[in-house]
Symmetry: C2
Subunit: 388 residues, 2 copies
């Protein structure tokens, strides 16, 4: 009799890191040529991407970590992650939002599992065979997690759940303020809400306005949507087939080439034919067995300067100097980032963002940071990419 | 019979440009290694020093233009002024304010005139002999003059006066506002006050407070002290001998070496023994025949960011971008200077100075710019000169 399959075996754990963003909200700190995930925002000596990869090492073998990114960033990826082989960097030839991005990775992992089973075409794999079982964590490359020990505990709970169930799991963060910069997940039932509980989901919501965010925050029924997911390979394959058949069909054509040297040419040709759609909208809002783990490990999506300010170390006048030396005089509530080794002297300024990088200096009210995207678009047009 | 001496002959005109300043008020645009006079503040392609030298070319032969500066800046001088010979750069081995600076130049010119007369030691020159006559203009290296044609007219009036009289002449500028950043010259008698009139002086005053500046401005008896002087060699030699005998004695020891290859060693040894004293306080406030030319040629000593702001081209929101590209959004009354080719985006900022240069960024309220000197001193101490 064959040895029973351990569905929690380490080699069945995969991690898909989504790293295709351009991060224009952090311009000029981020640039088209070096987006947010490649930056060492907190002066730790590691970029957000490197921190992200490192925090999965305990649970996922390094060869099972896949990065999905734009082809533009492949060299930068390999430079920052020298332990990864080139075939672990999945390159999108076009930007098609998160659903096709994840479908690509899922299809690549399907190829790997098929090969492990000695099966040439993904089409021939029996996904009810435990030998095809894989646990997959999907995470953005550019988030901050403060309590990595608690993060690992939460993931262990999630991995255990998906090794037994075909649920789509998402990590919901305990909200600490009525934040308008995040999407929220409404619990179907807030009973039994405690750390690392796996709970049923009622709805996903878009970023709310402030009044609504306050209602969400006070109700106790809403969690922040972290954009970190767990599922097993069978469950997510089925979800794409059911809810995004167009995307599933695109990748079905690659059943014989995924995770082989022919994959790249196939992706180059077919990936751009995928519709552009988000994972949340395309899969999670439609799927039946969607669950959330109630998590609390000090998380930020670092989507805004405000979040960097909130996380940064403040002086007695609530100024944050992220990089470089800054001397503040009669100034309060500012956040400043400079090239390493540079000095800024700030006199008589309140509640501003100051970001100097390369040939660009940005000075902007913290409360108006949402206008940075628009400004970057204007700068892009006006100077033909010289400063973006 | 010998041909009579033309005391207005071009070769008798000398110009002494004082260029020893370190310009800490314009930090970080100015640095210890590159003070204000070496900067092209207005993007004209010429530094303030180069503009200063060029505006004397019509009246003074290039070989009669002398620069007095700190020995630190000799190479930079020759780089910016390749037409000048090294011996035209008079190097102060120590900072001793303007009276010793001018005494040095006067002694150097005395040596030149002595040699022209075939006399070896300055001590043997008869300064009542018209053959020793020299007209000397003394000017700072870092001022802005907008109407150079009117400036030349004024100088011609001054040169004519000093060719005939042993007066000490100063240029007094028609005040256009109750400026507190300038010293003032009180006329002994405001009658006959018209452009290019040579008028008697009652007193020199230090920079006034605002109330006093308003009184000065409204009285019609006060002119701005430009720090530009004219005198003939005999008159200024006599003034030093009478009012600053200690300084005169220091240079008397050099009577045989000035304007020879031995001058440098002499200055190196003896110049630092001079007392530190200003020309205004040490000579002009004490001398008997001091006169002022009432001048009006669009002058600024560029002593403050405010003066640069006042002179700069303003957009419809009164912002001034001196160098580099700046995009302003909901911002008013700012002055910004950047490295050439750089971009700044300024959103929601009012009445500030933004100066980025090398490894330093300064952001400071315009109204508080007097604190920059103090800040520079603190930065100097704190970072051991790394940023100053």
């Amino acid at each position: 009799m064959a040895k029973p399959i351990d569905k929690l075996a380490r080699e069945r754990n995969f991690c898909v890191i989504m790293a295709g963003g351009v991060g224009s909200r952090f311009w000029p700190e981020s640039r088209n040529s070096r987006p947010k995930q490649f930056l060492d925002f907190f002066g730790t000596g590691q970029s957000l991407l490197q921190m992200t990869v490192n925090r999965f090492r305990d649970l996922v073998p390094i060869e099972n970590i896949l990065i999905v990114t734009n082809v533009l960033y492949k060299d930068l990826m390999l430079e920052q992650l020298p332990e990864l082989k080139p075939e672990q960097i999945l390159c999108e030839p076009a930007r098609r939002n998160t659903a096709p991005c994840v479908a690509y990775a899922i299809s690549h992992i399907s190829g790997i599992m098929g090969r492990r089973m000695g099966i040439k075409s993904i089409a021939d794999v029996d996904w009810n065979d435990d030998a095809s079982h894989a646990n997959i964590i999907v995470a953005p490359s550019d988030h901050l997690i403060l309590r990595e020990d608690k993060f690992i505990e939460t993931l262990k709970v999630g991995l255990h759940h998906i090794s037994e169930h075909d649920s789509l799991l998402t990590l919901g963060m305990r909200p600490t303020r009525p934040e308008t910069g995040y999407g929220y997940i409404q619990l179907d039932c807030a009973e039994g809400k405690k750390e690392n509980a796996v709970l049923p989901v009622k709805t996903f919501t878009e970023k709310p306005n402030l009044d609504l965010a306050k209602v969400f925050f006070e109700s106790g029924e809403f969690l922040w949507n972290s954009g970190i997911f767990l599922w097993n390979l069978r469950a997510i394959r089925k979800a794409f087939r059911t809810h995004q058949p167009t995307i599933a069909d695109v990748f079905k054509e690659g059943d014989e080439v995924m995770s082989t040297p022919a994959e790249e040419a196939f992706i180059q040709e077919k990936f751009p034919t995928c519709p552009s759609i988000s994972l949340d909208y395309g899969i999670l809002e439609k799927a039946a067995d969607v669950r959330v783990i109630y998590a609390d490990f000090g998380w930020s999506d670092l989507g805004t300067w405000g979040s960097l300010y909130d996380l940064g170390k403040k002086d007695e006048n609530k100024n944050v100097a992220l990089h470089g030396n800054t001397l503040f005089y009669e100034s309060n509530g500012n956040v400043v980032t400079l090239p390493e080794g540079n000095l800024a002297v700030i006199e008589g300024m309140q509640e501003m963002i100051v970001a100097q990088n390369g040939n660009v200096l940005l000075i902007c009210r913290k409360e108006n940071e949402q206008s940075i995207r628009q400004i970057v678009a204007e700068v892009e047009n006006k100077f033909n990419g010289k400063y973006t």
